[in-house]
């Protein structure tokens, strides 16, 4: 017995339905709405210009003395003087070197420990209570001790950056590694992978994007601790330049210093994001 079945075999295309998409303001301000490229540019530039205009207005309004609130143009002019006559290149080089050394040392030690803590329960139990305790001790409070131990040389600055980033990094990287899906590990085991192979061919590549993100986040903190270290004890570097500017009431140079550190952080962040997308094309955007 066959039932009659009607198939839709018409070849004539249906007329397109009338356009009913929301447009313009409605679409832009819809909840979780989308923006066109132009709209994106408008809002992004406005986001930069509005605070700048606010700053301009504030410094010209006379509410605050010009000395305390220099306008952006003076800051830029002052920055140019810093670059050409006051050794900005030297300051930046010194600071970059300190951050890199302190941060790389912390990274080199934290990465294997995090990998072990996220893989082996005894290592986790051994490390985490102590680290959880230490990470609540403010790194800045170690400065007097660090100065007693290491004096005011380069080691002291590296030590401050290390203390500020290392303990958190181990904990965060341990979490990154622990988040690798157990089914991926077990799948490898049922294909015959031994412990070493599970660690290096599954856990490490699976956790790598998260580990890089953790490194990116902690690098930001490293800059904070660098400036703290240089404010307290240094003869050069960006932090020291800011401190010296304060002594001579050069608020324009203080502004320039703060903004430069922000820009360096931004550039570094973008570089690491770019690296993330190059290294892990399979992963979501970093």
């Amino acid at each position: 017995m066959t039932l009659p079945i009607e198939h839709n075999v018409s070849d004539t295309p249906l007329a397109p339905p009338p356009r009913r998409r929301r447009r313009g303001v409605d679409r832009l301000w819809a909840i979780r709405g989308k923006s066109s490229k132009t709209e994106f540019a408008v809002f992004a530039i406005a986001g930069l210009l509005v605070p700048l205009a606010g700053w301009m207005a504030l410094s010209h309004s006379g509410i605050l003395p010009k000395l305390f609130m220099p306008d952006p143009i003076r800051v830029i002019a002052r920055f140019w003087v810093w670059i050409t006559r006051e050794g900005f290149g030297q300051d930046m080089q010194v600071s970059l070197l300190r951050v890199s050394m302190g941060f790389l040392l912390a990274l080199l030690l934290a990465l294997p420990l995090g990998l072990l803590a996220g893989t082996f329960r005894p290592v986790q139990v051994f490390l985490e209570p102590v680290l959880d305790f230490i990470r609540y001790m403010p790194a800045v409070a170690f400065i007097p001790l660090v100065m007693l131990w290491f004096g005011i040389g380069e080691t002291a600055k590296m030590a401050i950056i290390f203390i500020g980033t290392f303990f958190q990094m181990v904990l965060m990287m341990g979490d990154d590694v622990r988040r690798v899906a157990m089914t991926q590990i077990e799948a490898a085991q049922t294909m015959g992978a031994n412990r070493r192979e599970v660690i290096w061919q599954v856990i490490f590549p699976a956790a790598a994007p998260a580990l890089l993100t953790t490194a990116r986040v902690t690098l930001g903190w490293a800059w904070t601790y660098l400036v703290v270290a240089e404010l307290v004890s240094a003869n050069d570097g960006l932090g020291y330049a800011i401190l010296k500017a304060q002594r001579f009431l050069q608020t324009d140079k203080i502004f320039a210093g703060i903004i430069v550190i922000g820009l360096i952080g931004l550039v570094q962040d973008q570089l690491l994001r770019w690296l993330h997308n190059r290294l892990f094309p399979w992963h979501g955007r970093g």
């Binding site: 899906a181 089914t183 991926q184 077990e186 799948a187 490898a188 085991q189 049922t190 294909m191 015959g192 992978a193 031994n194 192979e197 061919q201 599954v202 590549p205 699976a206 790598a208 892990f280 094309p281 399979w282 992963h283």
Partner: protein, 269 residues
């Protein structure tokens, strides 16, 4: 190539918040070499636990499991496992996933150059069998759920395992994709000739695929009934509509309800 599995007096209990739950209570089961057995049962009956024990991913408290007469010790290349999801390596392409087992020491000893060429040919024929040739360079995240499970199956088959263990492999797929996968896995079974142990909560799937359906019951986890499936191994989708098929399906479903605890309450009235 296939191997038999002998499950002897297996018990396994878990500690759930201070309460000991007997997931498997002295379970015995013989699975012949080249057999397709499906495990079904109400949740908590221990079917997945049993599969993990066979895979060597977990150890029994009591009893032992033998493969071709040899007691197993941990996971081994003779027993490949396909998980429900999230088991693919997202940083490797489809081809990279399928070839993953080739990188491992356990599969690599004493390979001649021509055997290595054979491996590449093996990978492409598996991709072909699974309909993945077009997407071999894609990453898992770019694929649909059904495609991902095809990759997982191809990857598991790569080292020609004697036993294929499948833990609800199609549980997360939609009904249409699942039906396609059923015929694909029967095709794989006919071509690869490995022993298959297949865990599912879908009774229709269990009856359509299995030569025997092993029904397990919870509290404590145990084997309740073993159903012989009377259909030949070459099966076509319309089999699902045959009276004989529906009869068996109904019987299994009813028994699951009776053993699920909920059914017992209903039966008492």
């Amino acid at each position: 190539m296939s191997r038999s599995i002998t499950i002897k007096d297996i018990s396994r209990s878990f500690d759930l918040g201070g309460r000991t739950v007997l997931a498997l209570d002295r379970v015995n089961l013989n699975i012949a070499a080249g057999e397709f057995v499906t495990l079904v049962g109400a949740s908590g009956c221990g079917k997945s636990t049993l599969l993990r024990l066979i895979a060597g991913l977990d150890e029994p408290d009591l009893g032992m499991i033998e493969v071709a007469g040899v007691e197993i010790e941990g996971p081994g290349v003779d027993r490949a496992m396909v998980f429900q999801n999230y088991s693919l390596f997202p940083w490797l392409s489809v081809l990279g996933n399928v070839l993953f087992s080739r990188r491992l020491v356990a599969n690599r000893y004493d390979l001649t150059a021509s055997e290595r060429d054979g491996e590449t040919a093996r990978a492409s024929s598996l991709l072909d069998l699974m309909g993945l040739t077009r997407v071999q360079d894609a990453y898992p995240d770019q694929l649909s759920g059904g495609m991902r499970q095809r990759v997982a199956i191809a990857r598991a088959l790569m080292s020609r395992p004697a036993i294929l263990l499948m833990d609800e492999p199609f549980g997360a797929l939609d009904a249409q994709t699942r039906e396609v996968m059923h015929d694909l896995i029967l095709d794989v079974f006919a071509k690869e000739k490995s022993t298959i142990v297949f865990v599912t909560h879908d009774v229709e799937e269990a009856v359509y695929l299995g030569q025997r359906v092993v029904l397990m019951a919870p509290q404590p986890g145990r084997i309740d009934t073993v159903y012989e499936v009377p259909f030949e191994s070459q099966r076509l989708p319309d089999l699902r509509l045959e009276p004989e098929f529906l009869h068996l399906k109904r019987a299994v479903m009813q028994r699951i309800r009776e053993t699920s605890g909920v059914g017992n309450v209903a039966a008492a009235h």
